[in-house]
Subunit: 437 residues, 2 copies
């Protein structure tokens, strides 16, 4: 379904019947979004989100009808059932989307917070205060709920949202954005605070990403190909999200029941997400005892296994394990598929993680304080876990009450991003005529 | 002196006698820098900087001799005297550079700080801890003291420094870096924690800026052309610095003595820096009384003036004021030169600042709480000052004890950047076998 990996599908056929419209005026849209953004910081943004949540429920029939068109076209195109399901909206899903908007409305305001403040010897009073970015662009794939999530988070954080979803969901996104814009207008806020780039032309993504001074922040959400495209193309500030080649390393002294439970949870509980485990590393001293049982549990759960030589020896034909290649250590399967490697110890595990990890989430299972400490100190990743599943790298699990993505970069935000990560700050200084000597 | 604005000088003649050497192996250098960076977080970085400061003093003769070659070549090339002076090192300047390194050594360690921490309902203990970026690239112009400053700040913050200075200062930078590397080695730390990109080939800058996963952060320091080049070229995370088209707005109710003092200080005290005022905006009600005196003071200080129609009317031939054009409102003069505009009020001033400002530093002079509040709320800039000179936007003035630049972007750091701005963080999580439901 990702148009970023399969070249040229609907993106190059912008004149299908349901897309017949004037060429989208991006420059005008960005100017309107900028103007709309000015009204947000001192408005009742929580109230506006309540109005949006209600509008989505009120407009349910229109939205579901529009979505049915997208779904039908994908089904006709032979898109895999699981992907069509991700695209599909019904009453229950729309209710969940509206509830999520209400949840964002209820979160504490991330703006106007004094993060720091002090008085200089010359009497100048300095405050560091949170302020909105201004205009936030979201470039994402497939699931139409991201359209609402992203808009709600941006507006709650005082920024206008410029949304570029997948062309597969264009009709759904149009209906959702139209509903949200009507709600903003009805609430007395400018509708342009939420703008859809309503044109499947791929060139608009490039123009959006290069609109220096007009887009304050761009956040891509999607697969590796999308993220890579955004990072290569962008001239505006970007927060990279979500590519996760995550490891669990089981140390020699691990509680093997804990290791078994964590490995199963990290791989099987939801394999299609970025914080799922993709490679299991096991200390050779416990490889037989752990893997003897775990390979079977994984296979029973439908996990396709790729193993190193020592893993193959342990499986001994009893479990169906393919020989792992270099590509397996590098691959984020995003599926019920796992690479397994027996390592000689912590050093070996750290080297493997350093070489193949994507700096997302890395876990160790150990009872040793020293091993835990060293793993936490030396692994360079957004989240480093001891005796816990990698699946906990998540804004909701962290208690942020929302999540706009998981940053895998080191600038600004790292790890799960909530409202606090999509605001910036400025310094305000109060003086009495001070000049510099 | 900036090779970024004048196309192709020494950058395209890499085979001058003093540059004759093997082509620089950037890939190897980055791999070595990465390895060296690993040793820094848990080393005595303050002690290493003390050793560097001492080495710079011990190696004074070699450094000054190398610098003399750079200076001589620039002088022969007819470079402006002020620029040659900026390039020149002598005993006093080297002593000041070494003292600055000692000052950085004495600052509190920015690493291993717990920024936040909490326990989740499931018992997971979460901590957000400061960690180094890893490898920081600095791309800068001219003054060789930046070579030492940048290296010292990076090392203090636990990152390896990869330095790309101006080709005009290549011999000076070589000598400085050689001295610092010897000091690191003598202190038992890897010399590769400080690396000079020792090759004037411009293509290396591009390769450096596109070394995704190998450079964790790039910071350009220099003029607008350099910054722009870096932002357009980079595929690695960048912090933009230093372009400042800064304004002072004098409101109708301003104390005119305060306004006079702030305007003079913001323009004259050091005109060649990014936090100097470039345009003065004056409320029409106080334009005659303020400018009647101020234009003369500015002219006496050697400031070349560009004024709007109303400013010209007030000058009335008494002061030498050129008619300002659109270009004047846009120009960061970096010199004893100023644009002056009479505005109708706060709205007009805010519009002008929004249109022409570079989001660096903006000041208002007023006695009105309401006007001050509105200016501070509505101006989108790194630093917004009330009754104080724009010249206070500075890491040392802010009390940071150091400054690696002034960020004009909204991501990660905004305004003056000290040590706290050149570290990142990770989340470390301690569990007892938790899995996600």
């Amino acid at each position: 379904m990702s148009s970023w990996t399969s070249p040229a599908r609907s993106d190059e056929v912008p004149d299908r019947a349901e897309n017949a419209h004037e060429a989208f005026d991006l420059d005008a849209a960005l100017a309107h979004a900028r103007r709309a953004a000015r009204a947000l910081p001192r408005s009742d943004r929580a109230g506006a989100l309540e109005a949006i949540a209600q509008a989505l429920l009120d407009d349910q029939d229109e939205i579901i009808a529009a979505n049915a068109g997208d779904v039908e076209r994908e089904r006709a195109a032979g898109t895999a059932a699981a992907l069509v399901d991700r695209l599909t909206l019904d009453g229950a899903r729309l209710a969940a989307i509206a509830a999520a908007v209400r949840q964002v409305a209820a979160l504490p305001d991330p703006l106007h917070r004094v993060l720091d403040g002090w008085t200089l010897p010359n009497g100048l009073r300095v405050r560091k205060v949170t302020v909105p970015f201004g205009v936030i662009a979201m470039i994402y794939e497939s699931r139409p709920n991201v359209t609402v999530d992203a808009a709600a988070l941006a507006v709650r954080a005082g920024s206008a949202a410029v949304l570029r979803g997948s062309s597969n969901a264009l009709a759904s996104n149009r209906a959702l954005v139209a509903s949200m814009r009507r709600a903003l207008g009805g609430f007395g806020l400018p509708a342009d605070a939420i703008t859809l780039v309503d044109d499947p032309d791929r060139a608009l993504v490039t123009r959006l990403l290069q609109a220096r001074g007009r887009i304050d922040l761009a956040i891509p959400r999607g697969g590796g190909a999308l993220i890579d495209h955004v990072v290569r193309t962008a001239r505006v500030p970007v927060i990279e999200t979500g590519v996760g080649n995550c490891h669990v390393y089981v140390h020699a002294d691990a509680d093997l029941d804990v290791a078994h439970a964590i490995a199963m949870n990290a791989k099987v509980q939801r394999p299609g997400v970025c914080n799922a485990m993709e490679t299991l590393l096991v200390h050779r001293e416990v490889a037989s005892s752990l893997l003897g049982r775990l390979l079977g549990s994984l296979a029973d759960a439908g996990v396709q296994l790729h193993g190193c030589e020592r893993t193959l020896a342990i499986a001994a034909g009893e479990h169906d394990v393919e020989r792992a290649t270099e590509a397996d250590w590098e691959t984020e399967y995003h599926d019920l598929e796992l690479a397994v490697r027996v390592v000689d110890g912590l050093d070996d595990a750290l080297s493997h993680v350093d070489r193949y990890g994507t700096r997302h989430s890395e876990a160790i299972v150990t009872r040793s304080r020293a091993a835990a400490q060293r793993f936490q100190d030396e692994v360079d990743a957004a989240v480093v876990l001891v005796n816990a599943s990698t699946r906990f790298t998540d804004g909701f699990e962290f208690g942020f009450g929302a999540e706009i993505g998981i940053s895998t970069q080191k600038l600004h935000a790292r790890g799960p991003m909530g409202l606090a990560e999509i605001v910036t700050h400025k310094y305000v200084i109060d003086g009495d005529g001070q000049t510099r000597a």
